[in-house]
């Protein structure tokens, strides 16, 4: 596969998804941004009133990342803006979205900014009018397909993608799975791990493989009796210790982290492609600390913030910023073959079915 | 410490516990300055009655008055809380507070009433002297012996000059010798202070020694009220006769034809004629004399008396230290004779049994 073709298909796939977004009937209102000049703070631009933001003194962040990752993001922002005290709640995307929706239904508006790892709940939230429409001055650095449509609701702060990983201690290279279909080999029964149903990337994988391989793939997969976990750190922890032999949804970011720790794990990028999910950050309406929220969004979008997201060992997201440097490992997103949904309406509609099937596969 | 003592009235008191009735219509009065004792076996309701007077039990019906003022009245909906009745109480277990010194135990009641420090000091010392516990002020209460605790409890109860003192079997946890001594001390104290007291005990000797009046209770009702002598010498029914001292109960058929000199005659089933005194009581369907065991006399030779003399055979003689108890066959039954310094008779010996008719008391109609 030539590099060009890879590039083309990646870009095309991602472009397609952006265009598909436009086709969705979205009940969003486009607020005209106040005709203000953005202020420069540190090395990026913001429409937020930094003084007011610091006076607000707090930022509440709901994030899907694992504890270390979320703490890292907060630490990064907190180092740049020490006067703003950060607080966060982390839960896997599904649970996180639950919490947000039920809180708002009960009239509680405690959160400023949310980060989700799945487009489906983000679009749902946008449809419900949950996001505050804030067009950041940093948005210019992003292709339109990596921003919400209409833009201002959320943006793609990074992409996480997953391949196959296995424990080098337990699996000989010649036995190791090379492509996704190899996971159905009975030798991996009771020795494989995956993620729980509230994970965004797990949903993407399920959806994409149904398209690629048909519904039977997952029927066979469930016969493998995989164990499901909340975080990628856990998955790799178990691989490193030999508790599992193979991980069916091994996020590249975690692989890099564990390799640096010296764990005996190997990563396989299957030829058919790797499911990828965008990580979406957006400010929430009726945020208790609106200026701090805007400041955070701008920070996250900025080169500074993006560098943080890419380089922090607990995060290692691939950045979508047009002028972003390569990832920690020296690679770029376009070096990988990534799989993303194209028809978002269909994708969103199949969420319930995914939940039911996945839960049933895991015995609940 | 002289305050005019009040008198207590209890009318038709009923106290129920769940389904059971512990006190079933009890009435009595306590005169100012006197000691009234509630006497009876366990479960007769005497402690419950006392606690009802104290305000620690809530009755179901009746009236309790202290110094004319009702502290409990079912009909009028009055129930004065215990702490406001102006009474005082000595508990069976003494209830001395282990975390305080003797001084603080005794001073408690005065402190509650907001007395001045000097007054407290003086009165506590006076009270402790009264119970012969002077010098124990700073002793932690947990280090006292049973007898000492009892005295401290007494001092505590008296120190604030209450109208009435209630005693709930205060001596039953002491050994016999101490009990006997304390009995006398309590009585003297009560006389000296002139406080009205209500005393509960199951010990007959205590009741007889200390009381002005005794209320004998059984199963929640009163069997007899009277002075110690009355209760002892003129029991109303079989229960009182046998509970207050030991008695032989002699049942018989009324023989009016033999009645003379104001005496009543009964003929027993064994054919004996027994003369006794009716004391103004009516003989019922089963006329019975109560004859105290200590009033019967056994002698080897027939005594000179004309009435109430019978030959008997001694079945068994038991030496009991202060007295000897003889079981004698009398007609178709056995009688028990107790005599101090009675020469022991051999088993099977023949003797003469006699009793003064004045000591045969006709019991009331059941």
């Amino acid at each position: 596969m030539s590099a060009d073709k890879t590039n083309g298909s990646t870009r095309r796939a991602v472009l397609k998804s952006g265009a598909a977004l436009a086709a969705l009937p979205l009940a969003g209102k486009v607020f005209a941004q106040p005709a203000r000049a953005p202020t420069k703070v540190l090395d990026f631009h913001t429409y937020a009133d930094v003084g007011k933001a610091e006076a607000e003194g707090q930022l509440v962040f709901y994030c899907h990342e694992n504890e270390a990752g979320t703490a890292a993001i907060m630490e990064g922002f907190g180092k740049d803006f020490p006067k703003i005290k950060t607080g966060y709640v982390r839960a896997q995307t599904g649970a996180l979205y639950n919490k947000i929706v039920s809180e708002r239904a009960a009239g509680r508006f405690d959160v400023d900014v949310i980060q989700l790892s799945d487009l489906a709940p983000a679009l749902d939230f946008q449809k419900k009018g949950g996001y505050e429409i804030y067009a950041s001055p940093e948005a210019a650095a992003y292709a339109p397909e990596h921003l919400s449509d209409p833009h201002g609701a959320f943006f793609w702060t990074g992409v996480s993608f997953a391949g196959i990983a296995y424990s080098k201690a337990k699996v000989k290279p010649e036995e190791s799975p090379k492509n996704w279909k190899d996971l159905l080999d009975p030798r991996w029964r009771n020795a494989m791990s995956c993620k729980i149903s509230s994970s965004g990337i797990q949903f993407v994988q399920w959806y994409m493989f149904r398209k690629l391989y048909g519904a039977d793939f997952w029927k066979e997969f469930s016969k493998q009796r995989p164990r499901a976990f909340d975080s990628r750190v856990q998955l790799f922890d178990r691989l490193a210790k030999g508790d599992d032999k193979v991980c069916a949804i091994a996020e590249y970011a975690a692989y890099v982290l564990y390799k640096e720790k010296g764990a005996e794990v190997a990563f396989v990028a299957p030829a058919d492609g790797m499911p990828a999910t965008p990580l979406l950050v957006g400010m929430v309406r009726r945020a208790p600390h609106p200026e701090a929220a805007k400041l955070f969004v701008d920070w996250a979008m900025s080169g500074r913030g993006q560098a943080f997201y890419q380089d922090n060992p607990n995060l290692i997201y691939g950045s979508l910023r047009k002028d972003a440097p390569p990832m920690r490992t020296g690679e770029r997103l376009r070096d990988f073959k990534l799989l993303s949904p194209e028809d978002y309406a269909d994708y969103m509609a199949s969420r319930d079915q995914f939940s039911k099937e996945w839960a049933a596969m895991l015995g609940l | 410490m002289a305050k005019p003592a009040a008198h207590i009235e209890v009318e038709n008191l009923v106290v129920r516990y769940g389904g059971a009735t512990a006190v079933n219509g009890v009435s009595f009065r306590v005169q100012p300055g006197e000691q009234l004792t509630l006497l009876g076996p366990s479960g007769c309701g005497k402690t419950t009655t006392l606690r009802a007077i104290a305000g620690l039990e809530r009755p179901s019906a009746g009236v309790i008055r202290i110094g004319r003022a009702p502290v409990y009245s079912a009909a009028d909906g009055v129930d004065v809380p215990a702490e406001k009745r102006g009474l005082s109480m000595v508990f069976q277990s003494y209830a001395i507070w282990p975390h305080m010194t003797v001084f603080n135990n005794v001073a408690y009641g005065l402190r509650v009433r907001g007395a001045a420090k000097s007054e407290i000091d003086a009165k506590v010392r006076e009270a402790l002297a009264l119970v012969q516990m002077a010098g124990f002020e700073s002793r932690p209460a947990s280090q006292l012996s049973g007898g000492q605790q009892q005295r401290v409890a007494l001092a505590r109860a008296c120190v604030f000059s209450p109208q009435v003192l209630l005693f709930d079997e205060p001596l039953s946890n002491l050994d016999a010798k101490l009990r006997a001594d304390m009995r006398i001390e309590l009585r003297e104290l009560q006389h000296r202070l002139g406080i009205t007291s209500v005393y509960v005990t199951h010990d007959l000797e205590e009741a007889l020694a200390m009381s002005d009046h005794i209320v004998v209770m059984r199963n929640g009702t009163i069997e007899q009220i009277g002075s110690p002598a009355e209760i002892y010498n003129l029991p109303r029914n079989a229960f009182v006769a046998d509970f207050v001292g030991s008695a032989n109960l002699i049942r018989g058929r009324l023989r009016d034809d033999l009645a003379a000199d104001g005496l009543t005659a009964l003929e027993t089933s064994g054919g004996h004629i027994v003369f006794g005194m009716a004391h103004g009581r009516q003989a019922g369907s089963e006329p019975t004399f109560s004859v105290r065991t200590v009033h019967l006399r056994l002698s080897p030779a027939p005594p000179p008396a004309a009435r109430n003399v019978w030959p008997v055979r001694v079945r068994r003689c038991v030496f009991q230290g202060d007295f000897t108890q003889a079981h004698v066959a009398w007609g178709d039954r056995e009688l028990i004779v107790r005599g101090a310094a009675m020469a022991p008779l051999a088993d099977g010996a023949e003797a003469f049994l006699s009793v003064d008719p004045a000591c045969c008391v006709l019991l009331e109609d059941a």
Partner: protein, 562 residues
């Protein structure tokens, strides 16, 4: 009795107010639990649109979960009773050396929570990476020796912890048995064994049965061990299933609520039976004399028995703590670490992680508040129920013991719902956790204080009354000082219970209301085992220090007073 003049003394007012507060705390969430379980309409709609029993009918599909719950609880109960009975027997009936020290030590497993035990045993007994299995393989064994992530593994961990509860209960039963009963048997000529079988066992049987039922009810509602060991392996019990259902997206609230109500019903029934068995003898046991049972001389066997007791303590306390320590100082925890595997990074991270620091601080503050307010609240409640003559105190007793029949998680579920819509915004704050803790710990606090209260003879208070002291004065000068040791014990219990609380906290935490135990659990699921081990050890250490401080302070205060 006509026109009864009500007695509005301080006692009645305070008593009434406290009782109302307690009733509200308990019943308010239960109402919402039932409401959610009977909701067969749109789950999002508030209030529910349609009521029915469909959710309960659907439970049939999850029969396996119900079966799992019962089987694990049974296994754990049997094991726990075994541990408890054996140790109680050894320590109260035989002349094993060091009895008094051992008796004190038997309380320690209670403080090593099942969560810590689950972590440690997971590190020890995971089929691949468990230390024990690694040692086994190094010694030449094949595959693995034990697999802790199985129902028996879960039961084992639960039983190790609950064994000390069983010990206390059965020990109390043994102490309340009059040795004269056995002596009578032996004088007649029955040998020791026969006496034990025909006299002793039948006498202790009701008490042991009572303990069994109580322990079983507790096991039904337990959460931590099943969460750590069962969840990843798709082994669900009702509590973990509920947690899973609530955390899913979309959440299946009505189903979770139906499960919760079913569990509640079963536990309620069990505790009802337990109280029937126990109340027949309860006050005899608590206020009656404590006998000193006859101690058997077992000769040389006593060292074996000593070893048995020590073994239990090792397995339930020493081994888990050491394992956690061992794991926490490695980069990737293995049984035979290479030289480069040692690190203090885990502790460094754990102590600097803002989340940990704030969670720990929150937990300590919350623990202090819960214990202090709890002691007062529950002290008053205990007084009302067991001492006062207020009408309706039987009902109050029933209500405050309710939370015992409800697994914490289930209760928190109801609370989540109940307080979410409460006009005062306490949802997601420490206040909500405080309320939750006070509610779920009511049975624990009241039982502890009542036990001591009943030992304080009623006449001590009555004599104060007869000296003229009104209610508040009596309580302050007589009751409280006498209860002081009991209140202290209750304070400590409440403090520890609230710091290590998991089931309720995990559902009710908010962004600024993080507490340490759920944070540790989250860390287990979302980061490395080694970091989690470090966090758990830090928590244990902090709690131990806080306790030691408290005990030292109050001892000094007592000395000063005397």
């Amino acid at each position: 009795m006509r026109h009864w003049r009500p007695d509005f003394s301080t006692q009645t007012l305070v008593g009434g107010a406290v009782a109302l507060v307690a009733a509200a705390l308990v019943l308010y969430p239960i109402y919402f639990l039932f409401q959610a379980a009977l909701n067969i309409g749109d789950p999002e709609a508030k209030p529910p649109t349609d009521y029915g029993f469909d959710n309960f009918l659907n439970l049939g599909q999850y029969g396996e979960i119900l079966l799992n719950t019962v089987s694990v609880s049974l296994a754990a109960t049997v094991l726990a009773l075994l541990f408890g009975f054996v140790t109680a027997w050894i320590l109260s009936r035989t002349n094993v050396p060091g009895r008094h020290v051992l008796e004190q030590l038997m309380a320690v497993p209670y403080y090593v929570t099942p969560l810590l035990g689950a972590f440690a045993w997971s590190l020890l007994g995971a089929p691949e990476s468990g230390f024990i299995n690694q040692v086994w393989r190094a010694l030449g064994g094949e595959d693995h020796l034990i697999d802790i992530a199985t129902p028996w593994g879960i039961a084992w961990v639960m039983a190790l912890f609950e064994g000390s509860v069983a010990f206390v209960m059965i020990g109390a039963v043994m102490k309340s048995m009059d040795p004269a009963l056995e002596e009578a048997s032996q004088i007649i000529g029955a040998g020791r064994l026969r006496t034990m079988l025909r006299i002793t066992l039948p006498l202790v049987a009701p008490g042991v049965l009572g303990a069994a039922i109580f322990v079983f009810a507790e096991m039904l509602g337990s959460f931590s061990a099943a969460l750590v060991l069962g969840l990843p392996n798709r082994f669900y019990v009702v509590t973990t299933a509920m947690y899973q259902l609530v955390s899913q997206y979309p959440p299946r609230i009505p189903l979770a609520a139906a499960m919760g109500v079913s569990l509640f019903a079963v536990m309620f029934a069990m505790l009802f039976v337990y109280r029937r068995i126990v109340t027949r003898r309860s006050y005899v046991t608590i206020t009656g004399k404590a006998f000193r049972p006859r101690v058997m001389d077992v000769g040389a066997l006593r060292f074996v028995l000593l070893a048995v007791c020590v073994l239990y303590l090792l397995l339930s306390v020493a081994l888990p703590l050491l394992t956690l320590l061992y794991a926490s100082v490695q980069k990737i925890a293995v049984a035979f670490p290479a030289a480069g595997n040692w690190t203090f990074d885990n502790f460094r991270t754990a102590t600097t992680m803002n989340a940990v620091r704030s969670a720990l601080a929150n937990s300590l503050v919350l623990g202090l508040a819960t214990a202090t307010i709890g002691v007062v609240l529950m002290g008053l409640l205990a007084w009302i129920i067991y001492r006062a003559r207020m009408p309706g105190r039987g009902v109050i007793e029933y209500i405050v013991m309710f939370p015992q029949a409800v697994p914490r998680l289930v209760f928190a579920f109801g609370m989540m719902w109940a307080w979410l819509i409460f006009p005062v915004p306490i949802y997601g704050t420490l206040w909500l956790l405080l309320i939750a803790y006070l509610t779920v710990f009511m049975p624990l606090g009241i039982r502890t204080i009542a036990g001591v209260m009943l030992q304080v003879d009623r006449t001590l208070e009555e004599s104060a009354q007869m000296c003229g002291a009104p209610w508040a004065y009596r309580i302050g000068t007589v009751t409280m000082p006498l209860l002081a040791p009991g209140l202290l014990a209750a304070w400590l219990l409440l403090f520890i219970a609230s710091v290590r609380e998991l089931g309720a906290s995990i559902l009710l935490m908010g962004p600024y209301a993080k507490v340490i135990t759920p944070a540790i659990v989250e860390s287990w699921f979302a980061s490395s085992a080694e970091l989690t081990a470090a966090m758990a050890l830090i928590q244990t250490l902090v709690v131990a220090v806080a306790m030691a401080l408290f005990v030292a302070l109050t001892r000094r205060a007592q000395l000063v007073r005397e």
